[in-house]
Symmetry: C2
């Protein structure tokens, strides 16, 4: 059962302790200082008088929080409620685990959004270089080959993206949410939203019993002129259940195992064979490729390696197997495989149709906003595009 | 829990009652009449003295049974044991539910195998014509458009494959297994095989308690010069657990809902939008496309349609949604959606790498034989190829 962490995450530091504590997203607009800060409803003890909002954002992950912040900047006249089932961001969502790697290897039609996202990240992006290894090409003499991770005989090709870098999506989300509140957005945590259609949303405020069960304490219904569903993998289900609109978006349970190969402050991110290896706390976080969506109703389970139960999903093991020669570190004991799936950090990830972050108007009152596997690259720009569209009415 | 159906299936009629009761696969070779029939070990009460075999086939589905029969014809000097966890074929396997549609719309590299499979089916293939509907092209005046199933305004294109036809994979399997036994193969039902490596196989003979639990009654170990793993979706797992060889084959849980649109003896099979609609018992059996493999550990669950729980998997619903206009019958109440997944016939299906039936030598003693989604088209020919290879030693 999900555990409530009331108010804990709102003041929690980002996932990366080395990141700067204070920061402003560098969008360039002057802050709307004339606004009163909004109200934070963190737990059911804080009474909430139902009222109408201009905009209600369901989900304070990376997409929802960025949208809230952008919208407060662009349209301070629009009243805004940001509602989130967990903390900021959700402790079990995809944002908190996202690897936060930006690089410029994107298709042409996404280039502008990727650059805009980089600009929005501003100084939160720590330049570190992103190395892409491949089967063809040679190693430029100026770039050291990451021999502890990959085999240069199999993957001699090496491209350095000097503009690449890393950031903490969880910190960016926390800051965006806090900025939005400072600029007048209301924020409600620990609330499960149910779409009732026509801009009506039931807010089921959650509480935790002394036997650690999460229960609905009470329900308030609010009406909003615009409801943005930014709930990640859960978004399409929310829409289908609440509005009767099936979508073609999918989801997958992503695991991010740790690789205990030493990394330092100057270690680059390495991309190879569909994997991304991001330096993190003296080791690496491995982001495996997603081979296929997971079916509805799937409960993540660990797999087996040579007959022994491990926490890594079978599908992650499958994605590793063809590349063990190219990436020998992933075949070594340095890879933390765990003993059950609870040992490996993981979260449900939306797989938007087309693969890239997007927003879609569903009807006059509802918009779907989805990040997914490439939210690191273009997510902020897509959230900004939607803010622009909503601000213009 | 799986229920044992001891000896029931060995004398059971095929799935299609209209099929001819007596039949010989039309391979053209004279039967090896000099052989003594083999022994059938249907239940644990029949004692089995462990002995060495030349060939042991794990799984008496469509692939394993066809191989056994072909091998007895080609190499009567090779002693043979066909071992199966359920009946002949397994009541819960993919064979018993396979739609049994043959058509000639195959890629060039599979054409020869498809034609050979057609020849091997002989008179078991009931010619019925296979109509392929598409978005382009017109309707030849000689062929009636199946207006009860599809909308000619959306799918005007119509191609008739006059050489196409239907058969019952379950009956073909039953007959192949029986022929193999007549020609000297031993057959053991209700036995779970475990690979021990080096041609050793543990035969866990299964029994059912009076509380309907399937338990291992006793275990016998046999040695075979050649072990063929023909266990469908379970095959790759068996190999990985027993031989430590991971493979790149996958699996999916396929559901085949019924469509209550009237069909008659002259109704053609209809292929459209990735679906196959096979006339069956006055209606149709729908074979949906497989959108993606299912993850390891997935337990099939029903989905929802407009908020109501149904037995159809969410993924089947997803595959239907884009084509409701083209195939309006699938959007009507004629489609049996059930209330839980138990209501919809379904089985785990192997998804061989490359998509087509194949065999692969794993080591000196072990061969993997896989059918999968296209076993209707080329399965018998692939089994024959393997029989040829094994007969030649």
């Amino acid at each position: 059962m999900r555990k409530l962490r009331i108010q804990a995450s709102i003041n929690a530091p980002g996932r990366d302790a080395c990141e700067k504590p204070s920061w402003a997203l560098s969008a360039g607009q002057p802050p709307a200082v004339s606004q009163q800060p909004g109200t934070v409803y963190a737990h059911v003890g804080q009474s909430f008088a139902s009222r109408a909002y201009d905009v209600l954002i369901v989900g304070a992950g990376r997409m929802g929080a960025a949208l809230a912040w952008q919208l407060r900047q662009r349209a301070p006249h629009l009243s805004l409620l940001l509602a989130e089932e967990g903390g900021l961001p959700n402790e079990e969502g995809a944002t908190i685990l996202a690897s936060g790697v930006w690089h410029s290897d994107v298709p042409d039609e996404q280039r502008e959004r990727a650059e805009r996202t980089r600009a929005l990240l501003g100084e939160r992006l720590q330049p570190c270089g992103v190395l892409t290894l491949s089967e063809q090409g040679g190693v430029p003499p100026s770039v050291p080959y990451p021999a502890s991770l990959a085999d240069a005989a199999v993957l001699p090709g090496l491209r350095l993206d000097p503009r690449g870098g890393v950031y903490s999506p969880a910190s960016v989300t926390l800051d965006a949410g806090q900025q939005a509140v400072r600029l007048g957005a209301d924020l409600m945590l620990n609330v499960r939203c149910e779409l009732r259609g026509g801009g009506q949303v039931a807010l089921h405020r959650l509480s935790v019993t002394n036997t650690h069960q999460v229960v609905v304490d009470h329900t308030v219904t609010v009406t909003a002129a615009q409801v943005v569903i930014a709930s990640g993998a859960a978004g399409p289900h929310l829409i289908e259940n609440g509005l009767g609109q099936p979508t073609r978006h999918r989801q997958a349970y992503r695991q991010l195992p740790r690789l205990n190969v030493p990394s330092g402050p100057d270690s680059p991110v390495v991309r190879a064979c569909g994997f991304v290896l991001r330096p993190h706390s003296g080791g690496y976080v491995v982001t495996p490729p997603i081979l296929h969506p997971d079916p509805w109703g799937y409960q993540p389970v660990g797999g087996r390696l040579a007959g022994v139960p491990v926490g890594l999903r079978r599908e992650v093991v499958d994605s590793l197997l063809p590349h063990l020669e190219a990436l020998p570190a992933l075949a070594s004991e340095a890879l933390v495989v765990g003993r059950s799936s609870a040992d490996i950090p993981g979260a449900w990830l939306a797989l938007p149709e087309g693969g890239w972050p997007r927003w879609d108007r569903l009807d006059e009152q509802h918009v779907l906003l989805l990040g997914g596997p490439h939210a690191d690259l273009t997510g902020l720009a897509v959230a900004e595009e939607l803010a622009e569209a909503l601000a213009q009415g």
